[in-house]
Amino acid sequence: MPVSDQSIDLLVVGGGPAGISAARSAAEAGLNVLLADERPTLGGQIYKQPGPGFTVTDPAAMDRQFRQGRALIDSLDGTGVEVLLRTSVVAVEDRRVVLVTEGSAARTVTARRMVLAPGAHDRPVAFPGWTLPGVITAGGLQTLAKTQRVLPGERILFAGSGPVALAFPAQLAHYGAHIVTALEAGPAPRAGDLMRLARAARGNGALLRDAARYRGMLLRHRIPLRYRRIVVRAEGDGRVERVVHAAVDPDWRVLPGTEETVRADVLCVGYGFVASLELMRLVGCEFDHREDLGGHVVHRDEWLRTTVDGVYAAGDGAGVEGSFVAIDEGRVAGLAAAMDAGALSAADAAAAAAPARRRLDRRRALSAATARLYRVGPGVYELSDDDTVICRCEAVRRRDLAPAIASTDDINLVKGYTRAGMGPCQGRICQRQVAGLIARHHGRPIEEVALATPRMPVRPVPIGALADHTIQGPTLFLAEDAAADDGTKP
C-alpha cells in the first residue's frame, strides 16, 4: 500500500471544542487546514454526538450541551476545513505526520504547523475492586449515555471530585438514572468560597448558573451529595454489589473508622481528568506539573506555542480547564498559527484574540476562586492495597511492583521488570499510579518521577494498515556497509 503525501499549512489534532475552534480561526485567516479526530463524529467528549445508527429527529428535545456542540460543529461549515474522522495521528517525524483512518492504509501528510488538541481522559484511580465489572469512569458512562443512550445499571453510586462531581450526577439523573449517593472528596463550599465565587462571577454567569442548576437538580432528585468522602473499595461476587466509602482529611487520606457500605450495582468514578500527553511527549514538548490541571501540563507561551517549533497546544490536553476555556484557547492557537504563517499581521492577530483572552482571564479568575474546593489530594493515589491490580493490561498487582520499585526509581526499568505499562494501553491507565508508588517509596514528589520513553505508534495500528510493501529494505550487513565507515561513530 503506497503512502500518499499531502502538504498542508495546519494540522489540527482533535475535533473537540479546542480543535474545532482552532481549525476555524486558522481557516478563516486563510490557512489550508486539516482536522483529524479518531471518533466517528466531531464534538470531543464534552459535545459527544449520538453514535452511528442514531438520528436526532428533534434537536430541541436534546440537552443544552448537545445543542451547543451541534452549533460549534456546524460553525465549520463553509470554512474549507477538511475533516478526517475515525482518524488517529499515530506518528510524527519532524513535519511528517502519519495518519491512520479506520479500515485504510496509513498515509502521511506534511504539516507546516500543528495544533494539538487531544483532550483529556479520566484520572485513573486504583482502589481494591476497581477492576470489577460495574465500575465505570465518568467519561465512560457519559459516552454510553450520550452516544448509545443507555445506562449500565440500576443503582449508581458516584464517587469523584471537582465540577464533574456536581454536574455529572445531575446529568445522569436527567437521563433517568437512579443515583444513590454522590461523593465529593473535596470540602463543602463555605461562605468564603461563595464570596470568592461571587467576586469572580463577572463573565462567568453561564457557568455559575449551570452549577446552581445542577445543585438544584440533585436536590430535586433527592440525591445526597456528601463532601470529604472518597471511595475505598468496591465489593461483589463477579460484579459490583457494594461500595465502601470513607471520610478523608484535606489531603484526601482516609480517616480510620469512618467507613460506610452502600448497596449499588454501578460505581461511577470521576476524580477529574488528566491531559492526553502522548503526542506532545512524542514530539518532544516540555512540561510543567500542576496536579489541579491534570498533572503534566505542556509548557506554552502567550500564543499557546509549545517548546517545539510549529507545535501549538490548546484545550484540556494542555491543562484541564473545561470546554469554554478550550474554545477560547483554540481560537488563540488558530490565530497564532495563522500569524506565524504570515497569513495575519501581529496586530490583527492580537486584536482578533483579544476577546478570547478577556474571557480566558475571567475563567481563570473563577478557577482561582474554586482552587480550594477542587484541589486534588495526593491520597487519591494511595487507595490501592497489595492485591490491587495496578496495570490492567498485563495484570500486574501492587505487590509485584514493590520489589522492582525498591530497586530503582526509573519507571522504564520498573516497566521492564514487571511489564506494567507494556500492554495495549501503553501505560495510559497505570503509569501515573506506578509513578505515584515510585514517588512514595523514594520520598519524592510525583512530578520528579520521569515518565517512560514516549514511542510511536500513539495508537495501536493494525499491521495491514502499517505495512508498506513499496519500501525496499536496507541491504543485509554486507562488506560494503562496513567499509563505508570503519571508524568509531561518535
Partner: protein, 414 residues
C-alpha cells in the same frame, strides 16, 4: 492470556547502586549491560575484587532492548567481502562459538538460580526465491560441517509443518535448537548474583577520563567519573555501543560503529507461532513471545540522537519491517502494533568481537560483541577465567583490541 508479571524476582536494591564509589578496586568494569554484569559476576565468583560503574541504569541499552533471540543458523548472507575462504573460516568459527555460547546459556538459569524464561523453540530461516533457496542449501552444508543441526524443508512438507507461512515462502531451513530468553531479566539477575558475591555496582556513574599510570600495580588506572575518582589495577570496557569512546580514553581505537535498530511489538493474540522466523534474503526476525505478543525486528535502522535522548524509532522502518513480516506470516495483517522501540547496537566492521586484553595498554580489557545477548555470557566467562588464571588459552588474534589502532599511542597513555 498473558504470562503475567515476573513475580518473586529480586533486583539489586537502589540503596546499593547509589552508594558512594570506593577509592580503589582490583577490576573496574565499565558498563552495566549483560557483558558488564556477567563480567562482574564471574570475577566476583572467583573472589576478585570488582566494581562496576554504569552511567545510567542497568540493562537499559542493547542488553535490555534486543529481542532476546539465539540465532544459531549461520548468517551466510552476512559476508565480509574478504573472499569465500576467509568468510568460510569465519562462519565456521562463528558456528562453533555459537554452540558453545548456547551451552553456557542452557546452564545459566541453574548457575544464577533464577528463571531466564529460556525456551528452545526452534527456528525457521525462510526463502522466497530459487536463489535464496540455493543460499539456504549452501548454508546447510556449512552448518553440517560446524555441527549445527539444521534441515532444508520445501514443498508440501513445509506447508504441513509451517502452515502459518505464506505461499510465497518456497523453502526454509529449520534448526531445532534455536530459542530465546527474556532480555529484561538476565543482566539484572547477573548483577544481583555479582553483588551477593561481593561485587560493588554503582549506577548513575559516568566515566569521564582514564589516566594510565606508568606502573602496572594497583594504581595502574585512575578513572575519573562524575561521582568521583577510583583507582583500578585492571579495567574492562563493557560499554557496548559506546565501547569505542571508553577505549579512546586510553588511546585505543576500536573497529566499531554503533547503529540504532528498530523493533515493533504487537498486542497479544492466541498462540500461532512457536518457532522463531528469520529471512535469508530480507531483513526479518519474528517471534511470538511468552506473553503471546509478536516481536518484529531484523535490523531496520533508526536515526541517531544526541545523548541523553534515546534514539527515536522510524516510521519508515516500522512500515518496511512489518511489510516483510506480514508477507511471510499473512495472519499478522489484523494484529495491531502497540509500540516500537529502538536499541543502539555495536557493530564491528570485520564481524569479529573485541574481547581480551590490550597488548598496547596492558591491564585494559574489553568484552564487546555485536550479537552480545547470545555471546556475552560465554565471552565474559572466558575473559574472567583468563583474568584469574593465566593458563587459559588466549582469544584468537582477530578479536584483538589493538587491531584498529594505527601508529603509536599517545605518549601519556603508554
Amino acid at each position: 492470556m498473558t504470562a503475567g508479571p515476573l513475580e518473586s524476582r529480586h533486583w539489586v536494591p537502589a540503596g546499593h547502586s547509589h552508594a558512594p564509589l570506593p577509592s580503589s578496586t582490583d577490576v573496574l568494569v565499565i558498563g552495566g549491560g549483560i557483558a558488564g554484569t556477567a563480567m562482574a559476576y564471574y570475577l566476583a565468583r572467583s573472589g576478585v575484587e570488582v566494581t562496576l560503574v554504569e552511567r545510567g541504569e542497568l540493562n537499559r541499552e542493547a542488553s535490555g532492548t534486543n529481542a532476546g533471540s539465539f540465532h544459531l543458523q549461520l548468517a551466510i548472507h552476512q559476508l565480509s567481502g574478504q573472499g569465500a575462504e576467509a568468510d568460510r573460516e569465519r562462519l565456521l568459527d562463528e558456528a562453533r562459538l555459537s554452540l558453545e555460547a548456547y551451552s553456557v546459556w542452557k546452564e545459566l538459569g541453574d548457575e544464577l538460580d533464577g528463571s531466564l524464561d529460556l525456551h528452545e523453540t526452534g527456528g525457521w530461516m525462510v526463502a522466497e526465491t530459487p536463489e535464496q533457496v540455493r543460499t539456504l542449501r549452501d548454508k546447510y552444508e556449512l552448518e553440517r560441517l560446524a555441527g549445527i543441526e539444521t534441515e532444508v524443508v520445501t514443498g508440501a512438507e513445509l506447508r504441513r509443518r509451517a502452515p502459518y507461512l505464506a505461499e510465497t515462502v518456497i523453502g526454509a531451513t529449520y534448526c531445532p535448537i534455536e530459542g530465546h530468553a527474556n532480555p529484561l531479566v538476565v543482566a539484572p539477575l547477573y548483577a544481583l548474583r555479582a553483588v551477593e558475591h561481593g561485587a560493588l555496582i554503582r549506577t548513575g556513574t559516568e566515566v569521564r577520563r582514564i589516566d594510565v599510570n606508568g606502573d602496572s600495580g594497583a594504581r595502574r588506572f585512575t578513572v575519573h567519573t562524575d561521582a568521583g575518582r577510583i583507582d583500578a589495577h585492571r579495567v574492562v570496557d563493557c560499554a557496548g555501543a559506546w565501547c569505542g569512546e571508553v577505549a579512546a580514553m586510553v588511546g585505543l581505537r576500536l573497529p566499531v560503529r554503533n547503529e540504532g535498530l528498530h523493533v515493533n511489538v504487537t498486542e497479544p493474540r492466541p498462540r500461532l507461532l512457536t518457532p522463531m522466523v528469520q529471512h535469508i534474503g530480507r531483513r526479518l526476525t519474528l517471534k511470538q513471545t511468552d506473553q503471546n505478543t509478536f516481536i518484529i525486528g531484523g535490523g531496520w535502522p533508526t536515526p541517531d540522537a544526541p545523548r541523553p535522548r534515546r534514539y527515536p524509532t522510524s516510521w519508515h522502518s516500522a512500515a518496511g519491517s512489518t511489510a516483510v513480516a506480514v508477507s511471510v506470516l499473512p495472519a499478522l495483517a489484523d494484529i495491531r502494533v502497540v509500540r516500537t522501540w529502538s536499541g543502539v547496537i555495536v557493530f564491528t566492521n570485520d564481524f569479529s568481537p573485541v574481547v581480551g586484553e590490550s597488548a598496547l595498554v596492558p591491564g585494559f580489557h574489553a568484552c564487546v560483541s555485536s550479537t552480545g545477548f547470545t555471546f556475552s555470557p560465554y565471552f565474559a566467562r572466558r575473559l574472567a577465567e583468563q583474568m584469574t588464571s593465566p593458563v587459559v588459552s588466549p582469544f584468537p588474534e582477530r578479536y584483538s583490541l589493538d587491531r584498529a589502532t594505527t601508529g603509536t599511542l599517545r605518549r601519556e597513555n603508554r
